[in-house]
């Protein structure tokens, strides 16, 4: 057994230069000091301690780490945190309304048994949240396409597809009862370019 100790200098940690990354996360301004090589997924999970975003493959295939970055669904394991400087990010923790009301997609997943172990679920929730903004009333084929890049090992996707349709319905129901708007809570509405 051998050991060594890393030294902490200001502006660097364990010999690595640290970079300041400023993000807007779920509506709040957040700052992290990270090495250049730190993945955005690790930054969100371990530096910002928002562990709802999960890492299933670290090579961009499974989609569990999907977040909304400036409104678009992206795989946070394929981005460096430093490259996201200045971005507006929504994670699964930011989907529900500030008062705790579930977003339409979250509500639909609960009603339709759209999750089992729940590990891939945050990536589906963010993906579908963005997907329904682009295609508010998907047919079966469009719903399948919407979730076609996310892996789930538990559900066989049947109830996730049902959740997509139900979420679209809930958005319409909420819009009707509000008299206007999308029915999406503010925090789940991706900011940035359309």
């Amino acid at each position: 057994m051998s050991s060594a100790a890393g030294e902490l200098h200001s502006g660097e940690q364990h010999g690595e230069e640290l970079h300041e990354v400023r993000l807007t996360v779920n509506g709040s301004a957040r700052t992290a000091r990270v090495p250049a090589r730190r993945l955005l997924s690790d930054c969100i999970r371990h530096d910002l301690r928002l562990t709802g975003t999960h890492v299933g493959c670290e090579h961009g295939v499974c989609g569990a780490c999907t977040i909304l970055l400036d409104g678009r669904p992206v795989r946070s394991c394929l981005l460096l945190a430093v490259s996201a400087d200045g971005a507006d990010i929504t994670t699964v923790e930011g989907l529900a309304a500030p008062d705790g009301t579930l977003s339409p997609v979250q509500q639909a997943f609960t009603e339709c048994h759209g999750l089992q172990c729940g590990f891939c679920t945050p990536g589906f929730l963010t993906t579908i949240t963005a997907g329904l903004q682009a295609v508010p009333d998907p047919d079966d084929e469009q719903a399948r396409e919407m979730i076609g890049g996310n892996l789930c090992r538990c559900t066989g996707y049947q109830n996730i597809l049902a959740s997509v349709h139900r979420a679209a319905e809930i958005i319409r129901e909420r819009a009707a009862s509000n008299g206007s708007g999308t029915g999406q809570p503010a925090a789940a509405t991706p900011a940035g370019p359309a």
Partner: protein, 790 residues
């Protein structure tokens, strides 16, 4: 049975999980040190040198451990968990390689550093020198035994086992028809979205170890860690956090990391965490399914099987820590709903220089089902009979239950089916898929130049395997009910179904029941989650525990209300005289009354103090044969497994040019006894079917001849996306109660996957009129079969 049993109750697990508030292994211990491993890049080699000097300069490095650093208990081979008399040459790995590696991915060095990036930096700089040895890859090479995986295991043979019921050779010799078939299934793997992971904290002042691990058995890990670290069980807590899927791979224990990480935490006096990455999961956890089978079957003119002889070869990978469970299950569950006149099965379990093989959902049953159902279809083809007719003629009839197959099952107990109605299942599946109406559809498709085919497959699944599970129920003075059972959850909805059972039994609202699983602090005796056993085992145990708690509550309430317990009922958490809602006292108040206190710390406690008045001054506050509190603890230990059953039917289309295979319809008829929560059972079936489809059409572990797993990523290992699963899985249920447990239930977790390869092979064979003998089948494979068939 009252209202919640059988109801489509929404899951209580979901709220935290959909908000991102779940707590999976890597979400815990944010300040823990990180472990990373140097793993073998070679399938078979001697280690000639390990040079760590290059890694010592890495900032943030805390420790490097090799085999030489391990204390005596940790330096022994890891345990062979399930010994068996036939397992004459059982070999298990060392926690860190001791001079030799036997598969790519085997752990050689453990590095601990401030974070995972730094730990991997250091691991990259450790220079291991190897003397390569010939690699044994695949069953052909293992059987040829030109090279050996372990020098002291002749023929690469870990085990040879034989079971026989009747005189099979004589039955086949006397049969009017005999067929021989060679049937093969390739490797796949559980592949949960969350890999393995373990976090440990040593509390030096208390000399206690706390371990969190993504496991299917917290009590098993606790016992293994205590044994390996020389600790008493009472010094070790093992907690299972939210687990991101298991499907079998996480029942194996202890993984090398599960003993090394706690030991390192103890050595370093700091929490240490290991989170497996995806590549590690492919090359350093476990696979399943690889088997070759040779069938000889003798049958009469009606297609009745007179004698069935199955010889098969099981690829167990480099080591056998989980014993022979998979091939034993294949050899016994192969028979499905049928009763051959005589049956002989013999298998060899063989070493190869590949990742070890342990149960993956279905655990040997998919292969057995594939063998039996392909045999049924072959008999039907030879005799020119309808495939369902041949099956029907071989079925065990409902009146023959319980039916003794004359074999020993995986639990070491007789293979006796408890109940089931296979003819009724067949009628249901034929109706559901439209079996009798298919021929004209096929003709019409053919007229358009399209190829479609139909197939079906039947299975019987031993579920609810013993030896036991336990449950604990306590009613708090708030009226809230806390339930614990020792086995673990990986997403099946156990918290929901167990709460349904307890709420029903006690007569309380579902929202007042909270269930904890897999935490040794809450329940110390348990086996684990496998073999579709949770509902049967823990469901029965918590029901019995709740029944005890209810008896106590009624007794205490009856005393206070001066009535007979028999006159009381509990409705919505209120204990009341039957039919008289105004008479009631809340269960929380009963809990207060059950526990005489000295100290008043709140209003409820004040009512229970010794100065609160009341009570018989001539008797002690707690009677000699009584205990304070409203609690129940119970165990359930069935005499043997209960046997669920089902049948799947599929219609496929194959492209005449590209050989692409499309599932047009997929139908399931399933009998798991009484359904606690149909929505959850259907979810289990959906997930199982998707894994069955994956195993039948897409997933294989692609090893090259040197033992490199060339598709060890989600890019290359084709796990189904939504685009690969059937558009709709059509489900019908039959409910044949089990007589072996108080709820009449059978397991449901694995059923969906079992007939996948069998039913799709049958449907493709029907579409193509080419015998299908090996799965999975890709379009390229089918293209090649067509070319050879020409």
């Amino acid at each position: 049975m009252s209202s919640l049993f059988g109801a489509r109750v929404q899951r209580v697990e979901d709220d935290r999980l959909i908000r991102g508030h779940g707590a999976y292994l890597d979400d815990l211990g944010p300040d823990a040190l990180a472990a990373a491993f140097v793993r073998s890049p070679l399938a078979h080699a001697r280690i000639t040198d390990i040079d760590v000097s290059g890694a010592l300069k890495v900032p943030g490095l805390v420790a490097i451990y090799t085999y030489q650093d391990l204390p005596a208990r940790l330096a022994e081979p890891l345990p062979l968990l399930i010994p068996h008399p036939a397992l004459t040459h059982g070999r298990t790995p060392y926690a860190l390689a001791n001079g030799e590696v036997n598969h790519v991915g085997e752990a050689i060095v453990m590095v601990v550093a401030a974070d995972r990036y730094l730990a991997e930096d250091a691991a990259d700089l450790i220079d291991v020198s190897y003397e390569p040895l010939p690699a044994v890859v695949g069953l052909d090479a293992a059987r040829a035994a030109e090279h050996l995986v372990h020098d002291d295991v002749p023929g690469n043979r870990a085990a040879n086992a034989v079971q026989e019921h009747g005189d099979t050779a004589a039955a086949i010799a006397a049969a009017p028809h005999v067929l021989e078939l060679d049937l093969e299934i390739e490797r796949s793997a559980s592949t949960p979205l969350e890999g393995r992971g373990v976090l440990a904290r040593w509390e030096e002042q208390q000399k206690r170890l706390v371990v969190w691990t993504s496991t299917q058995t917290s009590t098993g890990v606790r016992a293994a860690v205590a044994a390996k670290l020389g600790l008493d069980l009472s010094q070790v807590d093992v907690i299972t956090p939210d687990v991101g899927g298991g499907f079998g791979v996480k029942i194996v224990h202890p993984w090398p990391e599960e003993v090394l990480v706690p030991w390192a935490a103890q050595q370093l006096g700091k929490p240490v965490k290991f989170t497996e990455d995806r590549r590690e999961h492919f090359i350093a956890s476990a696979h399943e399914r690889g088997q070759q089978h040779h069938v000889t079957v003798g049958y009469d003119h009606e297609g009745r099987i007179l004698g069935l002889d199955v010889r098969f070869w099981h690829d167990n990978g480099a080591y056998v820590p989980y014993g022979l469970i998979v091939p034993i299950v294949t050899s016994t569950q192969l028979l499905g709903p049928y009763k051959p006149g005589a049956y002989r099965v013999e298998f060899d379990s063989l070493y190869t220089n590949t990742v070890l093989v342990t149960p993956y959902r279905g655990a040997g049953r998919p292969h057995g089902c594939f063998v039996m159902e392909r045999t049924m279809d072959a008999i039907a083809a030879e005799l020119g009979l309808d495939r369902t007719l041949v099956r029907e003629r071989n079925f065990i009839q409902p009146g023959e239950m319980p039916y003794d197959q004359g074999l020993i099952f995986q639990d070491g107990r007789p293979l006796i089916y408890d109940s089931g109605d296979y003819p009724a299942l067949l009628t249901k599946i034929k109706d559901l898929v439209g079996w009798e109406k298919f021929a004209p559809l096929k003709e019409a498709a053919a007229a358009e130049g399209r190829r479609i085919g139909i197939g079906l497959a039947c299975y019987v699944e031993g579920t609810g395997v013993g030896p036991y599970e336990g449950g604990h129920v306590v009613v708090e003075t708030s009226g809230k009910v806390k339930v614990a059972t020792g086995l673990t959850s990986q997403g099946q909805g156990h918290q929901t179904i167990l709460a349904q059972l307890v709420a029903d039994e006690l007569g309380v609202p579902l929202a007042d029941v909270e269930v904890v699983t897999g935490d040794t602090r809450r329940f110390g005796y348990a086996v684990g989650t496998f073999a579709s056993r949770t509902a049967v085992m823990s469901g029965s145990a918590v029901t019995l525990a709740a029944r005890k708690a209810k008896e106590k509550a009624l007794r205490v309430a009856a005393e206070a209300m001066e009535v007979s317990p028999a006159d009381l009922e509990i409705i919505d958490g209120i204990v009341q005289v039957r039919g008289d809602p105004d008479s009631g006292i809340s269960l929380g108040t009963v809990a207060v009354l059950s526990n005489p206190l000295r100290y008043a710390f709140d209003e409820a406690a004040k009512a229970a103090t010794q100065f609160a008045g009341g009570g018989d001054m001539s008797r002690p506050p707690v009677a000699p044969d009584d205990e304070p509190g409203i609690e129940g603890r119970a165990y359930f230990s069935p005499v043997r497994s209960t046997f669920a059953s089902g049948m799947h039917a599929a219609i496929v289309e194959t492209d005449p040019d590209t050989a692409e295979i499309t599932i047009l319809r997929y139908c399931v008829v399933h009998d798991c006894g009484k359904l606690i929560n149909p929505q959850i059972v259907e979810g289990q079936i959906h997930g199982g079917v998707a894994q069955g489809v994956g195993g039948a059409l897409y997933e294989r572990m692609a090893y090259d001849e040197t033992g490199q797993l060339v598709n060890a990523s989600f890019m290359d290992f084709l796990m189904p996306y939504a685009s690969e699963v059937p558009r709709e899985i059509e489900i019908d249920h039959l409910e044949t109660p089990s007589p072996l447990n108080p709820l009449g239930i059978k397991g449901a977790g694995e059923a969906g996957v079992i007939p996948g390869a069998a039913v799709l092979a049958a449907a493709i064979e029907d579409a193509e009129a080419i015998p299908i003998r090996s799965m999975p089948l890709s379009p390229s494979d089918l293209f090649e079969l067509r070319r050879r068939d020409r």
